[in-house]
Amino acid sequence: MRKTGRRLSEVLLFCVALAFLSPIYIMLVNSFKNRAELYKNALALPSSFSFQYYAEAMEKMNFLRAFGNSLYITIVSEIFIIVLSSMTAWMLVRKDHRLSRFLFMTLVATMLIPFQTLMMPLMQVMDWIRTNLHIPMLNTRGGLIYMNVGFHASMAVFLYHGFIKSVPVALEEAATLDGCSKFGVFWRIVFPMLKTITITVAILDVISMWNDYLLPSLTLSDKSLRTIPLSTFYFFGEFTIQWNLAMAGLTLTIIPIVVFYAFSQKYIIRGIAAGAVK
């Protein structure tokens, strides 16, 4: 009796989970249907699987280009964030004087500022740098990477800071006595011990930068620089009436995320839990 109840709740839970993902199902099936089929029944399976809309969407979105841009911007930003914030956090923890505390408090306090409060003046600052110092901050991938680093710095330092506090100093002191420079101590001894938190920081940032729409939309104006969210925005604006084409495009944008999720699910879920609890 108890056993059948258990089996029943297992089936029920699985059905709920499937129903939960029904929007994905709707997106998938309709990306294969022609106009008449779309109108007839939006929930039915398609009568034939042709990848015609995928090919068209891929071309119209310039998908491979956008994918490359997103990948490049996300990865390079992430490397800078990890290198700079782990180094900063380590110094702030190990040299626990008034300046360090002040710097740390400033970082934490700015986490309260919403992006909308900064976006317009930020564009003015970047424009000023471009016209007066001739550094191309706007409409370049490098400029966007620079801003990504600035925006994700506080959260990353905050997470590293909390973690480093629990790392014992003894090893570092021994290495210093052996004549290791600070740089050597950090990269050879400390950084390898920060693996767990580095994964957390990386996952949180990668998800938010990969999906970010607003900042790239303000900084990148060239068609060839568009990231996936940007090209989706322009593509969707143009083809809303052609739902099959639109759904094929959206499916394309989700594929990289599903692949990423499939390979690093364990880390993602652990990282999210760890990142949120801080």
Partner: protein, 291 residues
């Protein structure tokens, strides 16, 4: 000698990050305060006229801004309830020790990885064409019609999309909380004759207070600052009925070119977000059960 060397290392490790951080966050924040006191259309050649507090006074007479603030409050309250109830229920389901738990957890969390913009587009299709199609076929066209044309339903639709995205996220945090509850405590209660409901309300919920703090805080600030889903699902429509705070600021600045006025709104937005988050953290920290 040693001291100056120490300082040099300190600078080498911290200055690069703080340089970027200052130019991207601190400087824009400070000049943003200045911009909120001027009248300017965003064209560099045109003068920035200092108007003192005029922008702030004008802001409280801007009907569209006030109604966007109201939509945001409505949306945030609904989203807080739906997201947290859903997240909590899902977390209780997947920690019940069933064999499909891991698969279910994976599936519930999935939407959280998809960006708000893309989620909004998928659901835009569902709330318009798919709903109409279902309505045509089943005859339930009082429910299954184009939700995004009705101001109330469009707001509700935004809540649903946001909840779909966030429920899995809060679920993960509640799961971590539930797994942190010592098994012996629940066993002891069982021995003492507490039934399932009593164990839930008297032991599990009080011990989940830290998780509640985190989840409420995350949903509150996430909902209040919603932009991407808002943009892709309804674009603020129909007739601005779902235009939220963040989108109103964006439109004021970049669509209408009221840079100073829009920035004043952005400063007010910051003050509200900061006040909300701080109050919430202080309030819930106080209620947490000490273990």
């Amino acid at each position: 000698m040693n001291k100056s060397k120490d300082r040099a290392w300190y600078a080498l490790f911290t200055v690069p990050l703080f340089f970027v951080f200052t130019t991207v966050v601190i400087v824009p924040f400070l000049i943003g305060i200045y911009y909120s006191f001027v009248k300017w259309d965003g064209i560099p050649a045109n003068p920035k006229v200092f108007v003192g507090l005029d922008n702030y006074v004008q802001l409280f007479q801007d009907g569209r801004f006030l109604s966007s603030a109201w939509h945001t409050v409505e949306f945030t309250v609904l989203a807080l309830v739906v997201v947290n109830v859903a997240g909590l229920v899902l977390s209780l389901c997947v920690t019940a020790g069933l064999r499909v738990s891991t698969a279910a957890r994976t599936m519930f969390f999935m939407p959280n990885l998809i960006g708000g913009l893309i989620l909004g587009y998928i659901w835009q299709y569902i709330f318009t064409d798919v709903f109409e199609s279902i309505g045509r076929q089943t005859g339930f066209d009082s429910v299954f019609r184009n939700w995004l044309l009705d101001p109330q339903l469009a707001l509700l639709a935004t809540v649903i999309v946001f909840a779909w995205q966030m429920a899995g996220y809060t679920m993960i945090i509640y799961i971590a909380g539930i797994q942190g509850i010592p098994e012996e405590l629940l066993e002891a209660a069982k021995v003492d004759g507490a039934n399932g409901r009593q164990r839930l309300t008297k032991i599990v919920f009080p011990l989940l207070m830290p998780s509640f703090t985190i989840c409420l805080f995350l949903t509150l600030s996430g909902a209040f600052k919603i932009f991407d889903v808002n943009l892709s699902l309804t674009k603020g429509g129909p007739v601005n009925a779902t235009e939220m705070f963040a989108m109103n600021i964006y439109n004021e600045i970049f669509s209408y070119g009221h840079y100073g006025f829009g920035q004043a709104k952005a400063i007010i937005f910051f003050l509200i977000v900061a006040a909300l988050t701080l109050t919430q953290v202080i309030l819930t920290k106080r209620r947490e059960v000490q273990m």
